[in-house]
Symmetry: C2
Subunit: 191 residues, 2 copies
DNA sequence: CCTGTCATGTAAGAAGTTACATGATTCA
DNA sequence: TGAATCATGTAACTTCTTACATGACAGG
Protein backbone atom coordinates (compact mmCIF):
# COMPACT_ATOMS: atom_id res chain seq x y z
CA UNK A 1 0.00 0.00 0.00
CA UNK A 2 2.27 2.80 -1.20
CA UNK A 3 1.40 6.29 -0.08
CA UNK A 4 -1.41 7.63 -2.14
CA UNK A 5 -1.87 10.71 -4.17
CA UNK A 6 -5.12 11.31 -5.92
CA UNK A 7 -4.02 13.43 -8.83
CA UNK A 8 -2.55 12.16 -12.04
CA UNK A 9 0.66 13.34 -13.60
CA UNK A 10 0.31 14.22 -17.27
CA UNK A 11 1.94 11.01 -18.35
CA UNK A 12 -0.15 8.91 -16.02
CA UNK A 13 -3.24 10.61 -17.39
CA UNK A 14 -2.33 9.98 -20.97
CA UNK A 15 -1.58 6.32 -20.33
CA UNK A 16 -4.88 5.90 -18.51
CA UNK A 17 -6.52 7.65 -21.44
CA UNK A 18 -5.22 5.09 -23.89
CA UNK A 19 -6.28 2.30 -21.56
CA UNK A 20 -9.69 3.93 -21.43
CA UNK A 21 -9.93 3.94 -25.21
CA UNK A 22 -8.83 0.31 -25.36
CA UNK A 23 -11.65 -0.48 -22.97
CA UNK A 24 -14.19 1.33 -25.16
CA UNK A 25 -13.03 -0.71 -28.10
CA UNK A 26 -13.45 -3.93 -26.19
CA UNK A 27 -9.80 -4.84 -26.07
CA UNK A 28 -8.47 -7.22 -23.48
CA UNK A 29 -5.77 -4.90 -22.22
CA UNK A 30 -2.58 -3.28 -23.36
CA UNK A 31 1.05 -3.93 -22.49
CA UNK A 32 3.67 -1.27 -21.92
CA UNK A 33 4.99 -2.13 -25.31
CA UNK A 34 1.58 -1.68 -26.94
CA UNK A 35 1.16 1.66 -25.27
CA UNK A 36 4.54 2.84 -26.42
CA UNK A 37 3.68 1.93 -29.99
CA UNK A 38 0.31 3.62 -29.75
CA UNK A 39 2.02 6.83 -28.68
CA UNK A 40 4.53 6.60 -31.46
CA UNK A 41 1.67 6.46 -33.95
CA UNK A 42 -0.05 9.64 -32.91
CA UNK A 43 2.22 12.40 -34.15
CA UNK A 44 1.23 16.00 -33.95
CA UNK A 45 -1.30 15.59 -31.21
CA UNK A 46 0.52 13.63 -28.60
CA UNK A 47 4.03 13.22 -27.34
CA UNK A 48 5.55 9.88 -26.41
CA UNK A 49 6.65 9.10 -22.87
CA UNK A 50 9.97 7.31 -22.74
CA UNK A 51 10.29 3.61 -22.05
CA UNK A 52 11.83 4.19 -18.67
CA UNK A 53 8.99 6.38 -17.63
CA UNK A 54 6.33 4.07 -18.98
CA UNK A 55 7.60 1.03 -17.13
CA UNK A 56 8.00 3.06 -13.99
CA UNK A 57 4.43 4.30 -14.14
CA UNK A 58 2.53 1.13 -14.99
CA UNK A 59 3.05 -0.63 -11.64
CA UNK A 60 2.15 2.60 -9.90
CA UNK A 61 -1.16 2.72 -11.74
CA UNK A 62 -1.90 -0.71 -10.33
CA UNK A 63 -0.81 0.15 -6.81
CA UNK A 64 -3.08 3.20 -6.90
CA UNK A 65 -6.00 1.08 -7.98
CA UNK A 66 -6.29 2.88 -11.31
CA UNK A 67 -5.51 -0.19 -13.35
CA UNK A 68 -5.17 -3.93 -13.03
CA UNK A 69 -2.49 -6.07 -14.59
CA UNK A 70 -2.59 -9.63 -15.83
CA UNK A 71 0.40 -11.70 -16.84
CA UNK A 72 0.13 -13.33 -20.24
CA UNK A 73 2.60 -16.10 -20.99
CA UNK A 74 3.22 -16.51 -24.70
CA UNK A 75 4.75 -19.38 -26.60
CA UNK A 76 7.04 -17.61 -29.00
CA UNK A 77 7.16 -14.19 -27.42
CA UNK A 78 8.26 -12.88 -24.06
CA UNK A 79 5.76 -12.92 -21.24
CA UNK A 80 3.90 -9.66 -21.02
CA UNK A 81 1.70 -7.71 -18.65
CA UNK A 82 -1.68 -6.58 -19.90
CA UNK A 83 -3.14 -3.55 -18.20
CA UNK A 84 -6.79 -2.52 -17.97
CA UNK A 85 -8.27 0.61 -16.52
CA UNK A 86 -10.50 0.25 -13.44
CA UNK A 87 -13.56 2.20 -12.40
CA UNK A 88 -11.41 4.15 -9.98
CA UNK A 89 -9.03 4.84 -12.84
CA UNK A 90 -11.83 6.13 -15.04
CA UNK A 91 -12.93 8.44 -12.26
CA UNK A 92 -9.44 9.75 -11.67
CA UNK A 93 -9.08 10.33 -15.38
CA UNK A 94 -12.40 12.11 -15.59
CA UNK A 95 -11.33 14.39 -12.78
CA UNK A 96 -8.05 15.11 -14.52
CA UNK A 97 -9.81 15.86 -17.78
CA UNK A 98 -12.10 18.28 -15.99
CA UNK A 99 -9.31 20.11 -14.17
CA UNK A 100 -8.37 23.43 -15.75
CA UNK A 101 -5.41 23.54 -18.09
CA UNK A 102 -2.73 25.72 -16.55
CA UNK A 103 -1.90 28.46 -18.98
CA UNK A 104 1.13 29.88 -20.60
CA UNK A 105 3.84 27.49 -19.71
CA UNK A 106 4.55 26.40 -23.23
CA UNK A 107 8.22 26.97 -23.67
CA UNK A 108 9.09 26.90 -27.30
CA UNK A 109 12.86 26.95 -27.59
CA UNK A 110 12.64 28.20 -31.14
CA UNK A 111 11.07 31.40 -29.91
CA UNK A 112 13.66 31.71 -27.18
CA UNK A 113 16.45 31.28 -29.68
CA UNK A 114 14.95 33.90 -31.94
CA UNK A 115 14.46 36.28 -29.06
CA UNK A 116 18.16 36.14 -28.25
CA UNK A 117 19.09 36.31 -31.90
CA UNK A 118 21.43 39.26 -31.45
CA UNK A 119 23.65 37.15 -29.24
CA UNK A 120 23.92 34.35 -31.77
CA UNK A 121 24.37 33.58 -35.38
CA UNK A 122 21.91 34.88 -37.95
CA UNK A 123 22.30 31.90 -40.27
CA UNK A 124 21.76 29.46 -37.46
CA UNK A 125 18.47 31.15 -36.70
CA UNK A 126 17.44 31.10 -40.33
CA UNK A 127 18.23 27.40 -40.25
CA UNK A 128 16.07 26.85 -37.16
CA UNK A 129 13.15 28.63 -38.74
CA UNK A 130 13.52 26.74 -42.00
CA UNK A 131 13.57 23.46 -40.12
CA UNK A 132 10.45 24.41 -38.20
CA UNK A 133 8.77 25.30 -41.47
CA UNK A 134 9.73 21.98 -43.02
CA UNK A 135 8.49 20.11 -39.99
CA UNK A 136 5.19 21.93 -40.22
CA UNK A 137 4.94 21.14 -43.92
CA UNK A 138 5.61 17.48 -43.21
CA UNK A 139 3.08 17.43 -40.40
CA UNK A 140 0.52 19.05 -42.66
CA UNK A 141 0.93 16.31 -45.25
CA UNK A 142 0.77 13.62 -42.66
CA UNK A 143 -2.34 14.97 -41.01
CA UNK A 144 -4.06 15.20 -44.36
CA UNK A 145 -3.31 11.53 -44.90
CA UNK A 146 -4.66 10.73 -41.44
CA UNK A 147 -7.73 12.79 -42.16
CA UNK A 148 -8.42 10.91 -45.37
CA UNK A 149 -7.85 7.56 -43.71
CA UNK A 150 -10.22 8.45 -40.94
CA UNK A 151 -12.87 9.55 -43.44
CA UNK A 152 -12.51 6.39 -45.46
CA UNK A 153 -12.81 4.34 -42.30
CA UNK A 154 -16.05 6.16 -41.56
CA UNK A 155 -14.49 7.49 -38.38
CA UNK A 156 -16.88 9.98 -36.86
CA UNK A 157 -15.16 10.59 -33.53
CA UNK A 158 -15.55 14.27 -32.88
CA UNK A 159 -12.70 14.76 -30.43
CA UNK A 160 -9.81 13.11 -32.24
CA UNK A 161 -11.02 14.95 -35.32
CA UNK A 162 -10.78 18.24 -33.46
CA UNK A 163 -7.19 17.54 -32.51
CA UNK A 164 -6.38 16.71 -36.13
CA UNK A 165 -7.99 19.99 -37.15
CA UNK A 166 -5.87 21.76 -34.61
CA UNK A 167 -2.69 20.11 -35.81
CA UNK A 168 -3.52 21.04 -39.38
CA UNK A 169 -4.37 24.63 -38.53
CA UNK A 170 -1.24 24.91 -36.42
CA UNK A 171 0.86 23.61 -39.28
CA UNK A 172 -0.65 26.13 -41.68
CA UNK A 173 -0.11 28.92 -39.22
CA UNK A 174 3.48 27.88 -38.66
CA UNK A 175 4.33 27.66 -42.33
CA UNK A 176 2.91 31.10 -42.92
CA UNK A 177 4.66 32.61 -39.93
CA UNK A 178 7.98 30.98 -40.76
CA UNK A 179 7.87 32.17 -44.31
CA UNK A 180 7.26 35.74 -43.21
CA UNK A 181 9.93 35.52 -40.54
CA UNK A 182 12.51 34.23 -42.98
CA UNK A 183 11.75 37.11 -45.30
CA UNK A 184 11.91 39.65 -42.52
CA UNK A 185 15.31 38.41 -41.43
CA UNK A 186 16.70 38.20 -44.95
CA UNK A 187 15.54 41.68 -45.86
CA UNK A 188 17.15 43.20 -42.77
CA UNK A 189 20.64 43.14 -44.17
CA UNK A 190 23.23 44.97 -42.15
CA UNK A 191 22.00 45.65 -38.64
CA UNK B 1 35.86 22.97 -9.14
CA UNK B 2 32.56 21.11 -9.58
CA UNK B 3 32.39 18.59 -12.39
CA UNK B 4 31.86 20.29 -15.68
CA UNK B 5 29.30 19.92 -18.37
CA UNK B 6 29.53 22.04 -21.43
CA UNK B 7 25.92 22.24 -22.48
CA UNK B 8 23.34 24.58 -21.10
CA UNK B 9 19.97 23.59 -19.76
CA UNK B 10 17.13 25.68 -21.19
CA UNK B 11 16.84 27.70 -18.05
CA UNK B 12 20.57 28.29 -17.81
CA UNK B 13 20.54 29.42 -21.42
CA UNK B 14 17.74 31.84 -20.92
CA UNK B 15 19.36 33.36 -17.86
CA UNK B 16 22.64 33.74 -19.70
CA UNK B 17 20.68 35.32 -22.52
CA UNK B 18 19.30 38.01 -20.27
CA UNK B 19 22.75 38.58 -18.82
CA UNK B 20 24.02 38.90 -22.38
CA UNK B 21 21.41 41.55 -23.17
CA UNK B 22 22.29 43.41 -19.99
CA UNK B 23 25.90 43.42 -21.15
CA UNK B 24 24.91 44.83 -24.55
CA UNK B 25 23.05 47.61 -22.82
CA UNK B 26 26.04 48.45 -20.72
CA UNK B 27 24.54 47.45 -17.41
CA UNK B 28 26.72 46.62 -14.45
CA UNK B 29 25.12 43.23 -13.83
CA UNK B 30 21.87 41.73 -12.72
CA UNK B 31 20.78 40.08 -9.49
CA UNK B 32 18.61 36.99 -9.25
CA UNK B 33 15.84 39.29 -8.26
CA UNK B 34 16.35 41.50 -11.33
CA UNK B 35 16.33 38.47 -13.58
CA UNK B 36 13.14 37.16 -12.06
CA UNK B 37 11.45 40.49 -12.66
CA UNK B 38 12.72 40.64 -16.22
CA UNK B 39 11.17 37.25 -16.92
CA UNK B 40 7.90 38.26 -15.39
CA UNK B 41 7.74 41.16 -17.80
CA UNK B 42 8.02 39.16 -20.99
CA UNK B 43 4.72 37.38 -21.32
CA UNK B 44 3.81 35.40 -24.38
CA UNK B 45 7.34 34.85 -25.55
CA UNK B 46 9.09 33.56 -22.49
CA UNK B 47 8.27 31.57 -19.45
CA UNK B 48 9.54 32.39 -16.01
CA UNK B 49 11.84 30.06 -14.11
CA UNK B 50 10.87 29.72 -10.48
CA UNK B 51 12.76 31.40 -7.68
CA UNK B 52 14.10 28.14 -6.37
CA UNK B 53 15.48 27.24 -9.73
CA UNK B 54 16.95 30.66 -10.36
CA UNK B 55 18.90 30.76 -7.11
CA UNK B 56 20.07 27.20 -7.66
CA UNK B 57 21.38 27.98 -11.12
CA UNK B 58 23.17 31.28 -10.55
CA UNK B 59 26.06 29.90 -8.45
CA UNK B 60 26.43 27.10 -10.96
CA UNK B 61 26.86 29.60 -13.78
CA UNK B 62 29.73 31.05 -11.83
CA UNK B 63 31.31 27.70 -11.04
CA UNK B 64 31.17 26.81 -14.73
CA UNK B 65 32.89 30.03 -15.65
CA UNK B 66 29.90 31.30 -17.59
CA UNK B 67 29.31 34.24 -15.30
CA UNK B 68 30.98 36.18 -12.53
CA UNK B 69 29.31 37.45 -9.41
CA UNK B 70 30.03 40.51 -7.35
CA UNK B 71 28.56 41.24 -3.93
CA UNK B 72 26.98 44.64 -3.60
CA UNK B 73 26.29 45.86 -0.09
CA UNK B 74 23.49 48.39 0.02
CA UNK B 75 22.54 50.87 2.72
CA UNK B 76 18.80 50.50 2.86
CA UNK B 77 18.38 47.26 0.94
CA UNK B 78 19.57 43.71 1.43
CA UNK B 79 22.99 42.84 0.09
CA UNK B 80 22.77 41.43 -3.39
CA UNK B 81 24.83 39.51 -5.89
CA UNK B 82 25.29 41.04 -9.33
CA UNK B 83 26.01 38.62 -12.14
CA UNK B 84 27.74 39.32 -15.43
CA UNK B 85 28.21 37.01 -18.37
CA UNK B 86 31.79 36.06 -19.27
CA UNK B 87 33.40 35.40 -22.64
CA UNK B 88 33.10 31.70 -21.97
CA UNK B 89 29.43 32.23 -21.14
CA UNK B 90 28.85 34.09 -24.39
CA UNK B 91 30.44 31.24 -26.30
CA UNK B 92 28.40 28.61 -24.51
CA UNK B 93 25.27 30.63 -25.21
CA UNK B 94 26.16 31.05 -28.86
CA UNK B 95 26.64 27.29 -29.14
CA UNK B 96 23.28 26.70 -27.50
CA UNK B 97 21.57 29.17 -29.79
CA UNK B 98 23.07 27.42 -32.81
CA UNK B 99 22.10 23.92 -31.68
CA UNK B 100 19.02 22.57 -33.45
CA UNK B 101 15.67 22.84 -31.72
CA UNK B 102 14.41 19.35 -30.97
CA UNK B 103 11.06 18.97 -32.58
CA UNK B 104 7.65 17.88 -31.60
CA UNK B 105 7.82 17.71 -27.88
CA UNK B 106 5.34 20.42 -27.25
CA UNK B 107 2.79 18.83 -25.01
CA UNK B 108 -0.30 20.92 -24.91
CA UNK B 109 -2.56 19.50 -22.24
CA UNK B 110 -5.57 21.16 -23.81
CA UNK B 111 -5.14 19.04 -26.90
CA UNK B 112 -4.67 15.94 -24.81
CA UNK B 113 -7.83 16.68 -22.89
CA UNK B 114 -9.76 17.21 -26.08
CA UNK B 115 -8.36 14.04 -27.60
CA UNK B 116 -9.71 12.01 -24.70
CA UNK B 117 -12.96 13.92 -24.70
CA UNK B 118 -15.13 10.83 -24.92
CA UNK B 119 -13.82 9.70 -21.56
CA UNK B 120 -14.66 12.98 -19.87
CA UNK B 121 -17.22 15.68 -19.60
CA UNK B 122 -18.33 17.64 -22.66
CA UNK B 123 -19.00 20.84 -20.73
CA UNK B 124 -15.62 20.70 -19.04
CA UNK B 125 -13.99 20.57 -22.44
CA UNK B 126 -16.07 23.47 -23.70
CA UNK B 127 -14.88 25.34 -20.64
CA UNK B 128 -11.25 24.54 -21.33
CA UNK B 129 -11.54 25.75 -24.89
CA UNK B 130 -13.32 28.91 -23.86
CA UNK B 131 -10.61 29.65 -21.33
CA UNK B 132 -7.92 29.12 -23.92
CA UNK B 133 -9.74 31.47 -26.26
CA UNK B 134 -10.01 34.12 -23.58
CA UNK B 135 -6.34 33.78 -22.74
CA UNK B 136 -5.47 34.21 -26.38
CA UNK B 137 -7.68 37.26 -26.62
CA UNK B 138 -5.99 38.75 -23.58
CA UNK B 139 -2.54 37.98 -24.93
CA UNK B 140 -3.47 39.57 -28.23
CA UNK B 141 -4.43 42.79 -26.52
CA UNK B 142 -1.31 42.80 -24.41
CA UNK B 143 1.00 42.17 -27.33
CA UNK B 144 -0.60 44.99 -29.26
CA UNK B 145 0.15 47.27 -26.35
CA UNK B 146 3.74 46.03 -26.27
CA UNK B 147 4.02 46.52 -29.98
CA UNK B 148 2.87 50.12 -29.75
CA UNK B 149 5.17 50.82 -26.83
CA UNK B 150 8.11 49.42 -28.73
CA UNK B 151 7.27 51.53 -31.75
CA UNK B 152 6.95 54.66 -29.71
CA UNK B 153 10.30 53.93 -28.08
CA UNK B 154 11.80 53.64 -31.54
CA UNK B 155 12.70 50.07 -30.80
CA UNK B 156 14.04 48.52 -33.96
CA UNK B 157 15.27 45.21 -32.61
CA UNK B 158 14.40 42.67 -35.24
CA UNK B 159 14.43 39.54 -33.13
CA UNK B 160 12.25 40.54 -30.20
CA UNK B 161 9.89 42.01 -32.78
CA UNK B 162 9.71 38.64 -34.51
CA UNK B 163 8.75 36.94 -31.27
CA UNK B 164 6.04 39.52 -30.69
CA UNK B 165 4.77 38.89 -34.20
CA UNK B 166 4.71 35.21 -33.44
CA UNK B 167 2.82 35.69 -30.22
CA UNK B 168 0.27 37.87 -31.99
CA UNK B 169 -0.16 35.46 -34.88
CA UNK B 170 -0.45 32.57 -32.47
CA UNK B 171 -3.11 34.38 -30.51
CA UNK B 172 -5.10 35.07 -33.66
CA UNK B 173 -4.77 31.50 -34.78
CA UNK B 174 -5.90 30.26 -31.38
CA UNK B 175 -8.94 32.50 -31.19
CA UNK B 176 -10.03 31.37 -34.62
CA UNK B 177 -9.45 27.71 -33.90
CA UNK B 178 -11.17 27.85 -30.53
CA UNK B 179 -14.21 29.56 -31.97
CA UNK B 180 -14.57 26.88 -34.62
CA UNK B 181 -13.97 24.10 -32.13
CA UNK B 182 -16.61 25.42 -29.78
CA UNK B 183 -19.11 25.54 -32.62
CA UNK B 184 -18.21 22.06 -33.78
CA UNK B 185 -18.76 20.64 -30.32
CA UNK B 186 -22.00 22.53 -29.73
CA UNK B 187 -23.48 21.51 -33.05
CA UNK B 188 -22.75 17.84 -32.44
CA UNK B 189 -25.63 17.31 -30.06
CA UNK B 190 -26.28 13.70 -29.18
CA UNK B 191 -23.34 11.53 -30.23
C1' DC C 1 -0.21 49.26 10.98
C1' DC C 2 -0.22 46.57 7.09
C1' DT C 3 0.99 45.42 2.48
C1' DG C 4 4.37 45.28 -0.98
C1' DT C 5 9.14 45.51 -2.44
C1' DC C 6 13.75 44.15 -2.08
C1' DA C 7 16.75 40.18 -1.57
C1' DT C 8 18.53 35.39 -0.92
C1' DG C 9 18.41 31.01 -0.09
C1' DT C 10 17.33 25.59 1.44
C1' DA C 11 15.07 21.07 1.38
C1' DA C 12 12.22 17.71 -0.34
C1' DG C 13 10.31 15.68 -3.90
C1' DA C 14 7.97 14.96 -8.49
C1' DA C 15 8.67 14.27 -13.30
C1' DG C 16 11.18 12.79 -16.84
C1' DT C 17 15.49 11.20 -19.61
C1' DT C 18 19.40 8.27 -20.71
C1' DA C 19 21.96 4.47 -20.51
C1' DC C 20 22.39 -0.14 -19.30
C1' DA C 21 20.88 -4.99 -19.31
C1' DT C 22 18.70 -9.26 -21.19
C1' DG C 23 17.08 -12.62 -24.52
C1' DA C 24 14.16 -15.29 -27.91
C1' DT C 25 12.22 -15.02 -32.61
C1' DT C 26 11.58 -13.58 -37.24
C1' DC C 27 12.76 -11.98 -41.65
C1' DA C 28 15.78 -10.61 -45.35
C1' DT D 1 24.46 -13.58 -40.32
C1' DG D 2 22.64 -9.48 -38.97
C1' DA D 3 18.88 -6.35 -37.99
C1' DA D 4 14.26 -5.60 -36.34
C1' DT D 5 10.52 -6.97 -33.38
C1' DC D 6 8.80 -8.36 -29.12
C1' DA D 7 9.07 -7.54 -24.19
C1' DT D 8 10.41 -5.73 -19.53
C1' DG D 9 12.83 -3.57 -16.46
C1' DT D 10 16.66 -0.83 -13.26
C1' DA D 11 19.83 2.91 -11.86
C1' DA D 12 21.61 7.19 -12.08
C1' DC D 13 20.81 11.46 -13.12
C1' DT D 14 18.94 16.18 -14.48
C1' DT D 15 15.40 19.38 -14.30
C1' DC D 16 12.13 21.81 -12.21
C1' DT D 17 8.48 22.93 -8.64
C1' DT D 18 6.73 23.81 -4.03
C1' DA D 19 7.02 25.02 0.37
C1' DC D 20 9.62 26.87 4.00
C1' DA D 21 12.52 30.48 6.11
C1' DT D 22 14.25 35.29 7.05
C1' DG D 23 14.25 40.24 7.52
C1' DA D 24 14.59 45.36 6.66
C1' DC D 25 12.38 49.27 4.59
C1' DA D 26 8.79 52.14 2.03
C1' DG D 27 4.31 53.96 1.16
C1' DG D 28 -0.43 54.56 2.00
Amino acid sequence: MGRSRDELSPTEAVILGLLGFAELEGEQGMSGYDLLRAFARSPGMMWAPTKGHMYAILPRLVSQGWATSREVVQAKRPTKQLYRITRKGRNALRAWLAAPVEAGQERDMLLVKIFFGDLGDRDAILGHIARRREQAEALRKQIRVFQREAERAGDQDLYPWLTRRHALAWANFTVRWATEAEEAIRSSRGT
